[in-house]
Amino acid sequence: MKRSWIKFFLSTHGILFLFFIYAPIVMVVVYSFNSHPVNMMVWKEFTFDWYWSIFGYPTQLNEQTLYVESTDQLLASVKNSLIVATSTTAFSTILGTMTALSLYRYRFRLQTFYRGLLFMPMVMPDIVLGIALLIFFVTFSIKLGLMSIIIGHCTFLISYVFVVVSARLAGMDDTLEQASADLGANPWVTFRRITLPQILPGVIGGALLAFIISMDDLVITYFIAGVDSTTLPVFIYGMLRRGVKPEINAIATLMLVFSFAIAALGLLLRRRS
């Protein structure tokens, strides 16, 4: 039958599609445990040594580990990334939520303008925003460093939080708020006791999204990071440009685990609400 052929074609394609997405990732994870020091592609034996070596511990592979001296830089970049992502998340979650509330609650003339303004940073190509911020910071003599990266990330992450929280607000029950107001609660009490608990899953979801995007951002950070404020993705990018080394497998695997963990957390939260 013709239809069964179509079905067969679609499922084969679908399975290949998932294979295309996951095979490269699985490959990196597998090879991060390969002890072959010269050719990463030839399987020798299982080892944790690359993981030890990125944290600067002595291993049998030490002669080949070229990054022992840059372990400090690596850890510094991780620290920078965490500082940036945490501050960015806090700031953009608050502003994004406030903006979502105001556009949902009030009708005013500039609403279309604001929706457009919030939409723009999400579609603006990274490189355009990155160099625009670079020119801006240099022109106004704002020092490039963690602060400039945090500002840069917030410019587009406010929008992401805004979208997630707005979606949550759209599905909210208005009558509770009206009841609260009718019963004499002031707007702040209504917000804290009624609105916030209802939109909280959206706020947390938006915060997680902001955190993960900020942790992973490469292009914008690449342009506006100062000399001593490298973040993890920029550090790895620099390493990759200089050549492929087995340690990158191990670092990449750790980053994968971290990203997957946060994504899974987000999914769990969405399930529970």
């Binding site: 239809r3 074609f9 679609l10 499922s11 394609h13 679908g14 599609f17 998932l18 997405i21 996951y22 490269p24 990732i25 490959m27 990196v28 090879y31 592609m41 030839v42 502003l95 994004g96 406030m98 903006t99 105001s102 009030y106 009708r107 005013f108 604001y114 929706r115 303004l117 939409f119 723009m120 940073p121 603006m124 190509p125 990274d126 490189i127 355009v128 925003l129 160099i131 625009a132 020119i135 801006f136 917030c154 410019t155 707007p187 993960i212 992973d216 490469l218 292009v219 342009f223 993705p233 790895i236 990018y237 990759l240 440009r241 492929v244 980053m255 990203s259 997957f260 946060i262 994504a263």
Partner: protein, 294 residues
């Protein structure tokens, strides 16, 4: 609307974002546009006088003093547009059948598979591209496998070609194409498809006359969402394309970090931004604003 204190509360809620985005989003973009009309200084930096040759250079015009007519930048521009369009085509061909497949699954599997397809979006771009560097480089996985199987006798050069760039870009932008298409396929009213086949339409006819036109909004959204970031991308061509497959993004990066011709880099960037605006406006005109902005 007229309740007392409303406008004060609105200003309180909206004020900080307005100031922030006005200052650090619109501000930088305005300064960038300004820069694109300034004269590049001899040793980096800018001279503060009006200078339109930055845009002329993109099209190859000589500035009458230092440069000869040269299409090198226009060619890089055209290559970027071509590769971005090809990427739209490739991701569409991969994602559309995949979305049809996901729709046909049971509800439980559907959730799982959609999650699996979205998951890589949360993995760092560098990590995802690193995977492909490992696969495609001369001593990489692909060559090792093909040599091992005896299919080729010496390593083939895939990395640093347009093919490598296209593979890398398709890999990165798949979720941007899949999700809008899947959303429109999921919304599709199944009874229309049944009606079509009840009335004697074959599977192909039903697809081209019913399914495809009804899911066109999703395809267009995916195309815009893939095209815009592909056009300005510089990480993929940098890691997988090398010097041979330069795109506008690489050119911009060069102007800022090595050539130190910021005004020219800004002009190129303004061009990318203009293309983006035109596409978004066309898209919104066609569909009404609800789909993308909503």
């Amino acid at each position: 609307m007229a309740r007392k204190g409303d406008s004060r509360r609105l200003a309180f809620l909206l004020g900080p974002t307005t100031l922030f985005l006005g200052f650090f989003f619109l501000g930088p973009l305005a300064v960038m546009v300004l820069y694109s009309f300034l004269e590049p200084g001899l040793y980096g930096g800018v001279e503060w006088n009006f200078y339109h040759w930055n845009y002329g250079r993109i099209l190859g015009w000589a500035d009458g003093e230092w440069e000869e007519f040269d299409l090198v930048y226009a060619k890089i521009f055209m290559r970027s547009v071509r590769l971005a369009l090809m990427n739209v085509g490739i991701t569409l061909l991969i994602c559309y059948p995949a979305a049809l497949w996901v729709r046909g699954l049971t509800a439980r599997w559907r959730t799982l598979v959609v999650f699996m397809i979205t998951l890589p979006f949360f993995v760092s771009l560098v990590v995802r591209l690193f995977c492909w560097v490992l696969i495609l480089r001369p001593s990489g996985f692909l060559n090792s496998a093909l040599l091992g199987l005896g299919l080729i006798s010496e390593p083939i050069d895939i990395i640093f070609t347009e093919t490598a760039v296209l593979i890398g870009m398709a890999y990165i932008f798949l979720p941007f194409m899949f999700l809008p298409i899947y959303a429109s396929i999921e919304k599709l009213d199944h009874s229309l498809i049944e009606a079509s086949s009840d009335l004697g339409g074959g599977p192909l006819q039903t697809f081209f006359r019913v399914t495809l036109p009804l899911t066109l909004p999703g395809i267009l959204a995916g195309a815009v969402l893939v095209f815009i970031p592909s056009l300005g991308n510089f990480i993929v061509p940098d890691l997988l394309g090398g010097a041979k497959v330069m795109m506008i993004g690489n050119l911009v990066e060069q102007q800022f970090l090595s050539a130190r011709n910021w005004p020219f880099g800004s002009a190129l960037s303004v061009m990318i931004m203009l293309i983006m605006f035109v596409l978004i406006v066309l898209y919104l005109r066609r569909l009404g604003r609800s789909e993308l902005v909503g």
